[in-house]
């Protein structure tokens, strides 16, 4: 037996960690490393290490220049001039300049590429090269969120030479300006990156990073516990207590830009009466759901968008008050028991169906009998996005990640009356004042002005209650104690370039 163990011990050597390499366990393998096509967070995470954007969204929600040095709006916000940093080259030696930016932006919106994120630059009319390090973006309409949209990882700058040379093979061999350069991708096993020794900014402390796909949460946890990985993302709640007892590992909770809500069809009885919608909001005990259903992995919403998004401001709380809920229902002339159908996805969001079941139980106490109906995700999307005449949904749970980190994307598609389903305003919400405020904030190029417009719009939305406001998700990450400076970004990307070993 002892000899057997000794043999196993020798076998074990190859899987201990290589010196100086950070290993990050993600849920899945990247799908593509071509930035405009990278939709899922594992892909976006790897892309962000290799290719950089013109502007950057800090984890605190500020938009700062990155590959850009500065910018100015002109022509009433219809023209955006961007000055680029000088002396930057892509990993293959191609200079980063105005031509490269023009190439990348035009490729981004091209129909041949059919990038799912092309909408981010749908206001773009054309790109002009002013001089070697200045580009001018001509917009169809004044569009303030454009800077936020240029922080999105899908708009990252990639080497035009490499794209031209590699064609379809580019997605497996990305070339950017970032702190790490691409080394190897063994599909389903790992992506290896090495430090870019010519990086223009602060050079990373860790010479190599490896991303490994590990679909099962408990397996990711085991990898970190045994030291076979340094970081494991998306930790399942049942594993948190065990990890917290482990002194070699820290459990980090970070905000996410994703908000979970249940919307009402505000155009059909009984939810066309704001008092009924408010009553539902008073009937639900969010703290209880947070604690007992979500295991504390979340944050009760106090606005239609999550903190960390530009324009966020707390605008209210619907106090848990079943008496008030019943009172409001009575005022609205609703006779109880009120029978309704609540649509809910399964497995799409953290504990989604369980949250719905808890709400079902809480609503019963105020005389609302909710029947839960679930559908497979594809069918669910189809049902919820039917136009009003064909739409039979009364209440449905959905989540929204404001991917650009800007309130415009968190509010305009969801609450502006021009966006009714099949757009994203599935509540068929319409408030002319909110419409005006959201439109105004789109063209106002002064950040302070936009912030106060959004606060006012959100206050009105909160009172109108087109949603049963719920919570925003938290990201739980396990990081070994010897690693510091690892960033869990609210856009659900995981960044290693400021990390170091203790």
């Amino acid at each position: 037996m002892r000899r057997f163990l000794a043999i196993l011990g020798v076998l074990a050597l190859p899987w201990t960690l290589a010196q100086g390499r950070l290993v990050v366990a993600q849920g899945t393998d990247p799908i593509t490393l071509d930035a405009p096509l990278a939709q899922d967070s594992p892909s976006a995470t790897v892309v962000t290490h290799i290719s950089e954007t013109l502007f950057e969204l800090t984890p605190e929600g500020r938009i700062v220049p990155h590959l850009a040095e500065g910018h100015s709006f002109a022509d009433g916000g219809r023209t955006l001039t961007i000055r680029l940093r000088r002396g930057i080259t892509f990993h293959d030696g191609t200079p980063f300049n105005a031509e490269a930016v023009k190439f990348n932006l035009e490729r981004f919106v091209s129909r041949e590429l059919a990038s799912p994120f092309a909408f981010l630059l749908s206001e773009l009319e054309r790109v002009e090269v002013v001089d070697s390090h200045t580009v001018r973006l001509r917009l169809k309409n004044p569009f303030a969120p454009i800077l936020a949209h240029l922080t999105h990882s899908s708009t990252a700058m990639q080497s035009p030479t490499a794209i031209g040379r590699l064609g379809a093979q580019y997605r497996d061999n990305p070339v950017g300006t970032g702190p790490y350069r691409f080394q190897a991708w063994q599909k389903g096993q790992y992506v290896d990156l090495v430090r870019n020794e010519n990086y223009w900014g602060q050079k990373p402390a860790i010479p190599q990073v490896r991303f490994v796909p590990v679909p099962e949460g408990t397996t990711r946890v085991a990898l970190v516990e045994t030291g076979q990985a340094h970081v494991a993302v998306r930790i399942p709640p049942q594993d948190i207590p065990r990890l917290q007892a482990n002194r070699a590992v820290q459990v980090v909770r970070s905000p996410s830009l994703r908000t979970i809500y249940i919307y009402f069809n505000t155009q059909r009885p009984p939810f066309n009466d704001a008092r009924v919608r408010q009553a539902m909001n008073h009937a639900v005990n969010r703290e209880e759901i947070l604690q007992f259903v979500l295991g504390g992995i979340g944050r009760v919403s106090d606005a239609p968008i999550a903190p960390g998004i530009f324009g966020y401001a707390p605008v209210g709380q619907y106090e848990f008050n079943p008496g008030r809920a019943q009172e409001l229902l009575r005022q609205a002339g609703v006779s109880t028991p009120l029978r309704i159908t609540l649509h809910c996805p399964t497995g799409r969001y953290f504990q989604d169906i369980q949250v719905c079941e808890a709400i079902q139980g809480q609503l019963r106490r105020v005389g609302v009998e909710a029947t839960i109906r679930t559908l497979e995700w594809g069918a669910y999307l189809q049902e919820t996005q039917r136009p009003l005449q064909e739409n039979r949904i009364q209440m449905a749970m959905l989540g929204w990640g404001a991917v650009t980190g800007d309130a415009d994307y968190g509010l305009y598609p969801l609450f502006h009356s021009s966006q009714w389903a099949p757009g994203f305003n599935r509540a068929f919400y319409r408030n002319p004042e909110v419409d005006r405020l959201l439109a105004q904030a789109r063209i106002s190029t002064l950040p302070q002005g936009r912030q106060s417009l959004y606060r006012e719009a959100m206050t009105r939305i909160w009172q109108d209650a087109p949603w049963l406001f719920l919570h925003s998700e938290l990201q739980v990450t396990a990081i070994r104690q010897e690693v510091q400076g690892f960033i869990v970004h609210p856009t659900e990307r995981y960044l290693a370039y400021q990390a170091s070993f203790r």
């Binding site: 074990a12 899987w15 129909r111 994120f117 092309a118 099962e216 397996t219 497979e376 996005q385 929204w400």
Partner: protein, 306 residues
């Protein structure tokens, strides 16, 4: 023999065509717009349209089928809608890993299940027999998911004997192979015990013993040869099942196999990949069945294919 092979190949064709039609219809008749799933939650109508055009989703169902079939006949499985890589390339990346895992699992099952079954059959009613049967019962009824996680917690986290997950060294293969093979091991142990016991009670065995042959010769030369024929069938079928059913094990152990590719593709309605992967599994099934039939002839001289 050649004629037999040809005939089998011809029979396989309509089977595979049926698979192609079924899979094509299943993935397309499922409710929900695949373009929406492919484009993600945030796409605009223009993007959706571009994606529909790119993957021919704007055409009628028969048209889509004919286009797909035509490409298939040219050996073109299309392009993954998510990664935009040729499906063939994707399958070539992941399938060998699944094959490796399933082969290791069937090896575990054959090397432990059959000997355990033989031992149990030679001493029916003994303590050994009883423990083998209890273990077999456990093995058959154990959920793979639970067993896999338990194996990780005990043998990787607590004892540190094996790596937690991934592919690399031979040691990486041990836990997933046992996990995937556990059901088949139990099944083979029970089967072998049962068939061997039956054969041992037959007249010709009694005759062999009466002739004064050594017990070893009786069991291994006369009894086992006949007892193993149904076992070979089960091994073949189990191998096919393992190939298709490796999904859960691959997920637990982060094994880079077809299961990982397939699950992601089904959720995203990545039609070309789902179709390609299912077709590949179907072809493998057909081939394994053929192999099992050929093996019969080698084990049992009475079986002839002319």
């Amino acid at each position: 023999m050649t004629a037999y092979l040809l005939r089998r190949a011809l029979i396989a064709l309509p089977t595979l065509f049926g698979v192609v039609v079924l899979v094509f219809l299943m993935v397309r008749l499922a409710p929900g717009d695949p373009a929406v799933l492919l484009a993600g939650e945030f796409a605009t109508p223009e993007t959706l349209e571009a994606i529909r055009a790119r993957y021919g989703l704007d055409r009628s169902l028969p048209e889509q089928f004919l286009i797909y079939l035509g490409a298939l006949l040219r050996g073109d499985l299309g392009e993954s809608a998510r990664s935009r890589r040729p499906v063939l390339e994707e399958l070539k990346t992941y399938f060998p890993n699944t094959l490796e895992l399933a082969s290791a699992a069937i090896l575990v099952a054959v090397l432990t299940g059959i000997p355990l079954g033989i031992l149990a059959a030679l001493r029916p009613g003994s303590g050994l027999d009883l423990s083998v049967m209890v273990l077999a019962l456990l093995g058959v009824s154990m959920p793979v998911f639970w067993f896999g996680l338990l194996a990780i917690l005990i043998f990787s986290v607590e004892l540190g004997w094996f790596p937690v997950a991934g592919k690399g060294t031979l040691a990486h293969l041990v836990l997933p192979a046992i996990t995937l093979g556990i059901n088949a091991t139990a099944l083979l142990a029970r089967m072998t015990r049962g068939t061997l016991l039956e054969v041992l009670s037959q007249d010709y065995i009694r005759t062999a013993r009466a002739k004064g042959l050594a017990e070893r010769v009786v069991v291994f030369k006369h009894a086992l040869r006949n007892a193993l024929i149904p076992v070979v069938t089960v091994v073949g079928l189990e191998f096919g099942t393992l190939l298709a059913g490796a999904v859960i094990t691959e997920t637990i152990f982060a094994w880079p196999g077809l299961g990982q590719l397939l699950v992601g593709s089904i959720l995203a309605r990545d039609y070309p990949v789902v179709q390609g992967a299912v077709l590949l599994v179907a072809i493998t099934f057909v081939l394994i069945n053929l192999l099992v039939d050929l093996l019969y002839a080698t084990i049992d001289p009475r079986v002839r294919y002319d």
